[in-house]
């Protein structure tokens, strides 16, 4: 569909420009605010051009929020979520697509249903499990009478507990267990011709070897796409870390920490709002996901449109 009408050209460019401004303006204002002193930021009219205080503001925000440890924490969580997700999703999709067992459709639908239940929806039960990861097993044992059996036999009451609150494990595990990645892989695996699977079988390759030697290398672009999406997803987590981490000095994440810089009656105690620091911190927090996206962009696009095969 190639149209060559000047009016249409102008119109499409106009829409493009409006869209760009809508997206870019908030970022610009954040950037400008981060470059001024507290007085300049809080005086009317709103500054539209950058000042010279960016470095000073960033340093102050960094020190005030103790960002060093928190950046490391966030990076650990984001990378672990990415790796965990890529691995789990690949193995799950492998099981669903290439093994013809009876439970295949059941498992598929179970996973599909979790798509409709994001973390935010099931946050209370998830928190209960995080508080004691062995709780489901304990319940199962109680319910089946196993606890009672052991207690009457040995006199010891089994009470299992594994607390995940205030730990990396607690931050990471619930974020890994979602279905999006499984679906991305599944769609790709379904495009692998049967003949390729059979050729590998004839060559003597077992299932795991096939996964490692053939499927994973062929999924490179999908992995890149998934990694990008999941890095940003994990980096931007707010609600879950807020809930499971009370020891913010050791396990705090930057996005959560940002809240303490955003001025409200609590943080400023009625003083002048410190927007310049909040914005400087925001800029810093945005940098890693942006770098990841820029770096992975080429692979990312290919992985989603699935042309490289």
């Amino acid at each position: 569909m190639i149209e060559r009408t000047p009016v249409l050209n102008i119109l499409t460019h106009f829409i493009l420009a409006v869209g760009f401004i809508l997206l870019f303006l908030p970022l610009w204002i954040a950037f400008v605010a981060a470059t001024h002193t507290i007085q300049a930021v809080n005086s009317a009219p709103v500054e539209l051009w950058p000042g010279n205080q960016l470095w000073v503001n960033m340093q102050e925000a960094w020190v005030k929020s103790d960002f060093g440890q928190k950046f490391v924490n966030t990076l650990i969580v984001a990378v672990a979520v990415v790796i965990g997700k890529i691995t789990i999703a690949a193995i799950t999709a492998f099981g669903i697509v290439f093994f013809n067992h009876r439970l295949r459709m059941v498992i598929f639908w179970l996973i599909f249903i979790t798509l409709m239940l994001p973390l935010e929806v099931r946050i209370v039960p998830t928190y209960a499990v995080a508080a004691n990861a062995l709780l489901p097993f304990q319940k199962l044992m109680d319910w089946t009478g196993l606890t009672w059996l052991i207690e009457s036999a040995s006199g010891i009451r089994v009470a299992m507990e594994w607390n995940l609150l205030n730990s990396y494990t607690g931050l990471i595990l619930p974020l890994i267990a979602t279905a999006t990645g499984t679906f991305l892989y599944r769609q790709f695996f379904l495009t692998i011709p049967d003949e390729l699977v059979e050729a590998a079988k004839m060559d003597g390759s077992g299932p795991l070897r096939f996964l490692w030697d053939i499927l994973i290398p062929l999924s490179r672009t999908n992995i890149a796409a998934l990694a990008t999406i999941m890095f940003v997803y994990a980096w931007n987590q707010y609600l879950w870390p807020l809930l499971v981490i009370t020891d913010r000095a050791n396990y705090g994440l930057v996005v959560v920490e940002l809240r303490t810089l955003v001025p409200d009656s609590l943080t400023t105690g009625g003083g002048t709002p410190t927007w310049h620091l909040a914005m400087a911190a925001t800029l810093m927090i945005m940098i890693p996901p942006i770098l990841v996206v820029i770096f992975m962009q080429r692979w990312f696009v290919r992985g989603l449109i699935n042309t490289d095969k």
Binding site: E198, M202, D203
Partner: protein, 371 residues
């Protein structure tokens, strides 16, 4: 020694049976072609030998050992697939050497073997390319090399040439035959192309709807088709069929409309009055000189082949095709007479579709060869 013995093998997908009890003996070092139309169960049979498909009932034995429960890799078969099934992310060398790598062969030895096999199929200088950078013929060679390098007891081919253009197909066909002559491994080759089958096979297996119709050398199958199905499937242009009735006394078959064709005494014996399909190969019919007696027909149209001509006639509104070197000119609707030697008249029981003549003729032909 890797002979293959297939005993009453059946395959069902759910309730749907697609291979109905196949018995077949494949001898060591033989090149067997399984020929049949699309959907007749050729691939399924081949894949049951390979171990890619479970055997519903019956038994497959390779070199005397029942392989029903064996994994594909334990059966010592190598397979060449229709779409080549090369690993897209591996180089040609890695593709060819993958089976050896899986088997745990040391790298240096592997590379030496890959180089040697690649040279033998004409892939020198391409070892570092990816499959995406190869032409169809070259991919085919990689697929062949990948099978050869394993030194399998049995080669299995599932329509490996059907994605090539006509010229390349002939070339690769010759190549496959040459490789077979050199390696002499038992080969099973599936195709729906009768030319491929006829030219490659030591013996061919004609399949139809999940059963075997006939097993024999290409010559036997062509000369003495066992059923109307085989007769119609083998030969190009296809055999002509005319309904008729045997008259033992007259040693002839009487066609509908009253025309008579002489047949051999043996064929006529004991079948008096039997309704038959009369099969006539276009290349065994001659156009009679004026005044001669024979099968009366009317001219319909002709096709020039260069090396000869196909004349399409009508006998009682049934088409009769004649392949002849003679260049004759007919006007549309012009009457003509065709002659057929008695030995070229194939007779099939109209009810059972079985040949009345093939079994006896085959036995006689084999006896002559053995004598």
């Amino acid at each position: 020694m890797a002979d293959i013995s297939i005993r009453s093998v059946r395959k069902a997908y759910g309730k749907d049976e697609v291979v109905h009890g196949v018995d077949l003996d494949i001898y060591d070092g033989e090149f067997i072609v399984i020929l049949g139309p699309s959907g007749c169960g050729k691939s399924t049979l081949l894949r049951m030998i390979a171990g890619l498909e479970e055997i519903t009932a019956g038994e497959v034995a390779i070199a005397g050992q029942v392989v029903n429960q064996m994994e594909p890799r334990e059966r010592g078969c190598a397979m060449v697939f229709q779409n080549y099934a090369l690993y897209p992310h591996m180089t040609v060398a890695e593709n060819i050497g993958y089976a050896l790598k899986v088997a745990g062969m040391a790298k240096a030895e592997r590379i030496a073997r890959v180089t040697q096999v690649a040279t033998s199929v004409g892939l020198d200088g391409m070892l570092d390319r990816k499959p995406g950078q190869l032409s169809g013929g070259q991919r085919q060679r990689v697929a062949m090399a990948r099978a050869i390098i394993r030194e399998p007891r049995v080669f299995l081919f599932d329509e490996p040439l059907s994605n090539l253009d006509a010229k390349l197909r002939v070339q690769m066909r010759h190549e496959i035959r040459r490789i077979h002559n050199r390696i002499a491994a038992t080969s099973v080759f599936v195709t729906h192309d009768q030319h491929e089958g006829m030219t490659l096979a030591d013996r061919m297996v004609i399949m139809n709807k999940g059963t075997i119709e006939q097993v024999g050398t290409p010559e036997e199958v062509y000369d003495h088709p066992a059923t109307t199905y085989v007769a119609g499937f083998i030969g190009s242009p296809a055999m002509n069929f005319l309904p008729g009735r045997i008259s033992t006394a007259g040693r002839a078959v009487v066609l509908e409309g009253g025309a008579r064709l002489d047949i051999s005494a043996a064929a006529a014996l004991g079948h008096d009055g039997l309704l038959v399909q009369v099969g006539l190969r276009p290349e065994q019919i001659a156009i009679a000189a004026p005044g001669q007696s024979g099968l009366p027909v009317r001219f319909d149209f002709a096709e020039e082949l260069g090396s000869g001509r196909l004349y399409h006639f009508l006998h009682e509104d049934l088409p009769v095709t004649v392949h002849s070197d003679e260049k004759r000119r007919f006007a549309p609707g012009e009457p003509a007479t065709l002659t057929v030697p008695p030995v070229a008249v194939h007779l099939f029981d109209a009810q059972t579709t079985q040949s009345l003549t093939a079994a006896a003729a085959l036995a006689e032909a084999r006896a002559r060869v053995n004598a």
